[in-house]
């Protein structure tokens, strides 16, 4: 008799089994894309149950949902709910379901798991897939003047160069007010607020000086990158496009994209390349966190500190130039590895930069924290309730400031993070602006230590994987922890050396939906610092429209008015305007 050897469970197996046990017959198929990624296919009507069970019942968090037009492959649309399992059996479980192209409808998961709301709104914009029961069916990504029946990411809809004739001349986006004050409010359509960097339209619903609710419209500069990547670029050039998603954390996107393709194709990236990627990811965090710390100084009215943080930040930029040849858009990732090695003299120079940065930032942080304004301007401001956080899956310092230690680097260690010694996710439980700032300070110091560990530990060897085979239609996830939180990329390559579908989720995409809860209960003077503490992909809101719910009047504040009020807290810009 031969005793059967117990088969070691694959990562995610316990979750799949739990779904099978709880909802018999629901798992039509389960396939592993990588060691830590499993995709289960479920019937469309079971979708909300399964996602809710994995989210709340098994400790899952939802970074994103990906819609995909798979009609050329098997005749249906498909939805992929990406779940990051962070309690037991850590890994990724992707719940896939097929949507009938005749009805184009599926049951919305948002009423059960609020974190799906933006993804489901976007799936309608891009594919025309309707989530039945979705509480908020407004457009998310496409502009107001986009034709109703044109869904850009459908495979048969349009060329990426097509620019449809605008259908309307007026903005018709409805801002939602969820407060309880009785008077209804007529909200005027303001002009678009294009700042020097990124535009967005905020609407604060206030009672006097207190913010009751807030709503906002973003995506004014939606660039259609996913469409360009699918149509024009070959899959190996997309790393360079991913570098340009963000001017601050582009490298994190580039790595995430490269790793999604590598996971799908089963490419083993050489160890040295993994170390180099991690070093560059942390170099990026250095300059990003210093920028945010500088901005916190600025919003606290401590502009000298702001200048000094930016002076020190320049060292982090110099370090990037030294290692990559560019201040930003490092452009060093290729599918299968990196393009530049770190040479010995660069290593020595990096160690020197790291120790200088450590000394200077320690001194500056000391000054910031001992500034009288810091405590009063940040303590208890912009509270992100952990319960709200659990519902919406925010990421990065934003959620870690609310006592929840979500960090892809430690939850799902990848690249060099697998080899770190004595590090863990940093959390603070004040839930306020101060906690988020302190998380960033500690992470900055951790980044320096990580860079030192990796420079010492990086093995010699090649930096590019060679001799792998391209297999069409395979898909997988790639993930990195950008300075603002996790970047999650889902990529599927086609049979033409191009991306069949590429979905990139930037960190702040997960954080915007919770902003309105962070606003509530604060005063207008705090609005700028709350947005700033999220470190959104833009921290200056050019203008804010303020609506008084009791008087049904509205007025538009400029960015400089709001900022100066935030810093001085006297001379309300609303004074003298009949408020």
């Amino acid at each position: 008799m031969t005793a059967k050897k117990p088969v070691a469970l694959r990562i995610g197996e316990t979750h799949v089994q739990a779904v099978r046990d709880t909802f018999p017959g629901s798992v039509l198929d389960a396939t592993w894309q990588a060691a830590d990624q499993v995709t289960i296919t479920v019937p469309t009507d079971m979708l909300p149950d399964v996602v809710e069970f994995l989210y709340y019942g098994r400790g899952g968090w939802l970074p994103n949902m990906v819609a995909n037009d798979e009609r050329p492959l098997h005749g249906c649309f498909a939805l992929y709910y990406l779940l990051s399992m962070e309690e037991s059996d850590k890994g990724f479980v992707v719940v896939r379901t097929e949507v009938d192209p005749a009805t184009m409808e599926y049951p919305s998961v948002t009423p059960r798991v609020p974190a799906c709301v933006w993804s489901e709104r976007e799936a309608f914009d891009m594919f025309g897939l309707r989530a039945i029961g979705l509480p908020d069916e407004r457009r998310l990504v496409l502009p107001d003047d986009w034709p109703d029946d044109l869904y850009p990411l459908r495979k048969d809809s349009m060329d990426y160069r097509h620019r449809p004739t605008p259908t309307t001349d007026v903005e018709n986006y409805q801002f939602l007010y969820e407060g309880h004050a009785e008077e209804t409010t007529q909200v005027p359509m303001g002009p678009l607020h294009i700042t020097s960097d990124e535009p967005g339209h905020f609407r604060l619903f206030v009672d006097g000086e207190d913010i009751i609710d807030a709503d906002y419209r973003l995506f004014y500069v939606h660039r259609g990158m996913e469409k360009v990547a699918e149509d024009r670029l070959s899959y190996d050039a997309v790393t360079f496009l991913a570098d340009r998603i963000c001017g601050i954390c582009g490298n994190a996107h580039s790595v995430a994209y490269a790793e999604s393709v590598e996971h799908a194709q089963g490419i083993e990236v050489p160890l040295r390349a993994q170390y180099i990627r991690s070093i560059l990811l942390e170099v990026e965090r250095l300059h990003s966190h210093l920028m945010n710390l500088g901005l916190v100084c600025h919003y606290c009215g401590f502009d000298t500190g702001f200048q000094h943080f930016f002076r020190v930040r320049e060292k982090a930029m110099d370090l990037a130039v030294l290692l990559t040849g560019a201040r930003k858009t490092y452009g060093l990732n290729l599918i299968g590895g990196v393009r530049r090695d770190i040479l010995d003299d660069q290593k020595l120079a990096t160690i020197k930069y790291v120790s200088e940065l450590r000394n200077e930032v320690e001194a500056l942080v000391d000054m910031l924290v001992s500034t009288a304004n810091f405590e009063s301007r940040t303590g208890g401001i912009g509270r992100l309730d952990p319960v709200i956080a659990r519902d919406y899956s925010p990421v990065g310092p934003c959620v870690r400031g609310s006592g929840i230690g979500r960090d892809v680097r430690f939850d799902h260690p990848f690249d060099g993070y697998k080899f770190l010694v004595g590090m863990s996710a940093r959390t603070h439980d004040g839930c306020d602006v101060q906690s988020r700032t302190l998380v960033r300070v500690e992470e900055f110091m951790d980044s320096l230590a990580m860079i030192e560990q990796w420079l010492d530990g990086a093995p010699q060897g090649p930096i590019q994987a060679e001799g792998w085979q391209y297999t069409p239609n395979k898909f997988a996830l790639g993930y990195t922890e950008a300075p603002r939180g996790e970047d999650m990329h889902w990529a599927q390559v086609g049979d033409n050396q191009k991306c069949y579908r590429w979905r990139c989720k930037a960190a702040t995409y997960s954080n915007w939906p919770v902003l309105r809860y962070m606003f509530r209960g604060n005063t207008i003077a705090d609005a700028a610092i709350i947005v700033g503490s999220m470190d959104p992909c833009y921290s200056c809101t050019d203008r804010v429209t303020v609506v008084d719910v009791n008087k049904s009047t509205s007025t538009v504040l400029t960015k400089s008015q709001l900022e100066s009020y935030c810093r001085r807290r006297t001379h309300s810009p609303l004074a003298g305007k009949g408020w």
């Binding site: 360079f240 500190g305 000094h308 130039v321 040849g325 452009g331 001194a363």
Partner: protein
């Protein structure tokens, strides 16, 4: 507060004199790509690798010239062209001041002669590339250089020639 004043005093000037003094970058900085038209054999490797389509190749209407173009307005300074160039004919320099008053000045181009097949007269490859290969093969000598005469023929003519030779060989074998 005193700490802050001390810090300010110790820091001194944090800014540099640029643009009144040159701005230095470390080696390996990725700036303007410089094309060396003498080394270039117009093999098109850079045009294929360029993710931004900044480098393009264009055949003239009568197919006698092929033009290598670069548009610095599209360039993303990734350096892929430098990586793939077999002739080291393109290199990223430290130059970063690319502003021009006229949009057309953002481009550079260079035309190369196209070789015609000695058999059928069709244009088939860049002359410089063919010359380079001929030179390389003749220097290598030995079995590699046995087909050196065929270099001035287009792919179709060479295929035809090979097929005919093979047919002849097969016929001989059949007779034997």
């Amino acid at each position: 507060m005193f700490k802050l004043f001390k810090e300010i005093r110790e820091t001194g000037d944090a800014t540099v004199e640029y643009p009144f003094a040159p701005y230095e970058f470390p080696d390996g900085f990725r700036g303007k790509p410089e094309h060396n038209e003498k080394l270039c054999i117009a093999c098109e490797a850079c045009a294929i690798a360029c993710p931004a389509n900044a480098i393009t190749m264009e055949l003239s209407e009568d197919q006698s010239l092929i033009t290598w173009n670069i548009n610095y307005g599209r360039c993303i300074f990734c350096g892929r062209c430098q990586e793939v160039c077999p002739m080291f004919a393109i290199e990223l320099t430290k130059e970063f001041e690319l502003t021009v008053l006229n949009k057309a000045d953002l481009g550079e181009s260079c035309a190369y002669e196209v070789a015609r097949c000695s058999c059928c007269g069709k244009p088939y490859a860049v002359k410089k590339e063919v010359d380079y290969v001929r030179n390389l093969l003749s220097k290598m000598g030995g079995p590699a250089a046995t087909d050196i005469k065929k270099l001035d023929r287009c792919l179709d003519c060479r295929r035809l020639e090979d097929a005919e030779a093979f047919q002849l060989q097969a016929r001989h074998r059949g007779e034997a």
